[in-house]
Amino acid sequence: MSVGFLVDNLTSVMLLVVSFVSLMVHIYTIGYMQEDEGYTKFFSYISLFTFAMFMLVISNNFMQLFFGWEAVGLVSYLLIGFWHHKESAVEASLKAFLVNRVGDFGFLLGIAVLLMFFGTLDYAETFTLANQVNGQTIFGDISVITVICLLLFVGAMGKSAQVPLHVWLPGSMEGPTPISALIHAATMVTAGIFMVSRMSPIFELSDVALTVVMLVGAITAIFMGLLGIVQNDIKRVVAYSTLSQLGYMTVALGVSAYSVAIFHLMTHAFFKALLFLAAGSVIVALHHEQDIRKMGALRKKMPITYFTALIGTLALIGFPGFAGFYSKDMIIEAVHFSNLPFADWVYCAVVFGVFITAFYSLRMFFIVFHGESRLDRHTEEHVHETALSITVPLIVLAIPSVIIGYLTIEPMLFTGWLENSIYIDASVHGSVAALKEHFHSAFSLMLHAIVTVPFWMMVGGSLAAWVFTLYRTDWAKKIQERFHRTNYVLESLYGFDRLNDIVFVKGSRKLGEFLWRVSDMTIIDQIVVNGSARLMRFMGSVIRPVQTGYVYHYAFFMIIGLMLVLTWVLVVGENPLIELGS
């Protein structure tokens, strides 16, 4: 193995996305962090993050990949806890760090098993040997390839925040908003998606692993989307939508539509970075207020933020013509054509997910920008559009959020542009081939949308959001009271945090306490340290009477000893001293 670079079309897409979003975030940061004391430190960190992300995507072997993988995790930890005077930020950074280590442990194990069976960490050599290793088993009759894929996917679950390792991402919103846009929406969280796509020659050999990937993705897409409905923190709504969209990408990976996952990764990076930055613009304008219940009617006061947020929202909900429409529609269609077990259920989940996405996205949009103003008087008087360094990145990001899907769907998915990077066994997994067969043009896809179920789901979700937030606001409260148990489950985030707190946090505390009592207090303190002292004292008390200080007592013992030796020689007939000496 040698350190090197692998620059193919997959790498190029990632480089383009990372560097473009990173640039916008750099510019945005000038305005957003202008009053912060750690201004230069912040720029240093985001540059360091960009370096780490480049290392991750450009690597040609697992060691370099792991280096980049860990480096982005470290910088993410530093940036979530950037405002270290806030206790919540410190806790969130620690949570992110620890949960990511769980995923990384699986990832490292996967690399270790891969090295054990392939004998190399180089991508090219690994992919060449994949078919040879395919028949081998481990732990009885479990396929080695399946084990490797599942372990690598555990790493992807941690980094790309898939259930149940998703808990760190909403908490990471404690960090500055530019970081939420760059790391926790557009780039780092997609590292898992990129990694699985890069490993497609291995994943293609295990239907079990692919099915697990698909199911985890579907669970994340639907259940995290539902959580977005009950959130009132503007950044957390966008964070849960990120989790849901990452679930969509994972579903695409599961049905072997790797290129579609990368396509959604790219479009999502633009519109999600836009939405986060727009949320940041609102937060700055309202003096760091993040509760959407204290916002409203900002449409006229912040027109640039309003229009760019509208574009981002339309792209997210998959409105025909916008970037998100093409990528999400392709994922749904890919699942439709999949022949994996449970693909039908997953299809229903991702289609219903469109309704949920439209509902929570537009709910937030309507509450923030439309309806009645709920700002306090002081804020109401002073609220205005944010500085150019904030609005310019919004405008620039809004452009690809509209056109990038239309422009790139054909080249990226149907011309074999990613064929040199991604391998699909078309004889077994025919989703992408079926997509290609049914695709005519980007324009016709847009026109055709009106007769598809996802489109009407999107319309339904949008109408529901309008009804509950603008038309009949009392209905939302009534439904909340009527379904209070469901509401409780959603507001308690399905109990994941509580479970983690009871099992892992309190469990590890109790384990530590047990080890402290048994190991430290009993074995080390009582037995080893105090025990040896007691033993010495006991031995001393036994031997002390012999040490009288009288010479004739010592002479007496010497004579006794000599007599014992002589007796030995006479009875046994051997000289013990000679034997001892020899």
Binding site: N9, S19, T40, F43, S47, L48, E410, G416
Partner: protein
């Protein structure tokens, strides 16, 4: 070509080191300028135009059934 890749990757690291170590002395404007310039090393006009050309070529190659370009070659 290897050198270009190396520069693309290392430029943000160098930017991070300079801004991290000397940020207070350099001041805010110079610090963010260095960070942005380091990031922009690869985003020259040539790079952007190459991507556009590549996408156009792909559309063309699809219609004429000729092999498309590799974006990576154009970086």
């Amino acid at each position: 070509m290897e050198n270009i890749y190396l520069t693309i990757v290392l430029a943000p690291l160098i930017g991070a080191i300079i801004v991290g170590l000397a940020g207070h002395r350099l001041g805010r404007t110079l610090s963010h300028s260095i960070a942005i310039l380091a990031l922009q090393f690869q985003r020259s006009w040539r790079f952007m135009s190459s991507i556009i050309m590549c996408l156009m070529e792909l559309k063309y190659s699809m219609k004429t059934s000729t092999p498309g370009c590799r974006l990576a070659d154009l970086i």
